[in-house]
Subunit: 298 residues, 2 copies
């Protein structure tokens, strides 16, 4: 297929490279010229650049994938004066893999539908490592028939491609999961730090929790206490992994969505404030499991 | 063995019956006479009654198991004027299966040790169902050699017998696990209610969480949203299971232990307050997964 790709940052660039690897031709756009140059060089003749998002459509692409930092960028790329929807998008498939709030995703999806485009929201989990390896999880909202047609395209960039329901539901699944993840990580950190301060060995405590009702991914797969697991950020000074600043972004999306839909999320809100506190202390670049630093002596 | 057993309530009575079933002789004490009568009748000649905790020791028992509601009862039964430690306990094994704060457990263990007794704290999880079926989990603190000697005795009442380290560590493991459980359950309830309010199908959302990083026991084994899982309290109006009032008790123990050891547990504290709010509304008798009622329209 001939595809557009907009947003060649830490996530978008490896995703675009995996599309090239799968044999697709790309027409790309990014506001950072060096990102564009690098991708075109990597494409060895199968990637070209467009001067605006709208200009991608003039190249006769079958679809466009976007991977952008936040809702403001998505709105600008889709709804702006040189945006995708300012061009003729009738019958074109638009896939937004940015993580944004569900309301904005639905607003963009409606505008796309009104212009005759076919749209999916498809945020990912798996981080830059998953983007490089092509093992991302895609949580996809939109028409189910379109999802089924596009599944193999997404498999060039990911391993688990999950249908979540109508437009915006990919974003809903991601914010709900990641809010629970943030809560579970802080809860695991509090429980591990409390148990150790009261005299327990951290490995013994983790072993008990992991075979009991406190069991969770944050404890059995990604334990924040140093020395409990190997090959996790806690074993390497909390480098790599999923940054605390990205967790804060997702908790912000969750609490904002909850506010708009008048849903109480007391633990989610406190989790958002706790990560905000942590990041104010200068730890935004550390993996999100480093939150246990707030509950242990350094 | 000839054993003492003190505390024949909803948990203690079935545990004592399982000891009889395993062939042990019992000398029992409870402040409620009908509980004593029922157990003696059940014992068919192998169970007798003592008039005080101390009187159990005069019967020449090898050990005593206690199963009491709270620390005040444990202190009274062990340290009171007619308590176990007022008698000759030299070489006698004392096993306290009550769930109490770790500091009280250590205070009692020290007093027992000073009198020459051998003591284990061995709180359980698994509820009345596990007590009846003999499938409880025992979290055990004390001397490891004593733990190894007593393991087969505890196996008459439970399935998983876990060594947690020195005196009081059984209680530490239980409060740490159950604090994380309370946090995870509220987090799961918030995430499920938020996702559904934003348009997701609860089964689809649970399926995504359960294969993602939000995965936890409260979501994949005990999901609070009605209709997601069969054979859980959410499928039968939140009857049976683990009462919200018992979860509040455990969160109270966790936050109190945290206060005494100056450990921050912000989510644990808020979880305690949320269950307190729920119970004030009259829901203490419902399973603790019913907390989702605070986040959904009834």
């Amino acid at each position: 297929m001939k595809l557009g790709f907009i947003g060649l940052g830490n996530m978008g660039a490896p995703m675009a490279r995996n599309l090239l690897k799968a044999g697709h031709e790309l027409v790309v756009f990014d506001i950072v010229q060096v990102n564009v140059d690098a991708l075109i060089k990597h494409g060895e003749g199968r990637a070209t650049a467009a001067v605006t998002p709208a200009a991608i459509l003039s190249s006769g692409v079958d679809g466009v994938v976007t991977m952008l930092p936040a809702a403001q960028h998505v709105k600008s790329v889709y709804l702006g004066s040189d945006g995708l929807l300012s061009a003729n998008v009738k019958g074109v498939v638009l896939i937004d893999s940015s993580t944004i709030d569900p309301m904005s995703a639905r607003e963009v999806a409606k505008a796309a539908r009104d212009k005759g485009a076919l749209m999916l929201d498809a945020p990912v989990s798996g981080g830059t490592g998953g983007a490089e390896a092509g093992t991302l999880t895609f949580m996809v909202g939109g028409e189910e028939s379109l999802f089924n047609q596009m599944k193999s395209l997404l498999q060039a960039m990911g391993k688990n491609i999950v249908f979540c329901g109508g437009a915006g539901n990919g974003q809903v699944a991601k914010v709900a999961n990641n809010m629970l993840l943030g809560i579970s990580m802080i809860g695991t950190a509090e429980a591990m730090a409390l148990g150790v301060s009261l005299g327990m060995d951290p490995k013994v405590l983790a072993g008990i929790i992991n075979t009991s009702s406190g069991r969770c991914w944050s404890s059995d797969t990604y334990n924040p206490y140093p020395g409990v697991l190997e090959n996790v950020p806690a074993a390497r000074g909390y480098t790599g992994g999923f940054g605390s600043d990205l967790m804060l972004k997702d908790l912000g999306l969750a609490t904002e969505a909850a506010k708009l839909s008048k849903q109480p999320v007391p633990l989610g809100s406190l989790a958002q404030q706790i990560y905000q506190t942590f990041i104010l202390q200068g730890y935004g670049g550390l993996d999100f499991s480093a939150i246990i630093k707030l509950f242990t002596k350094n």
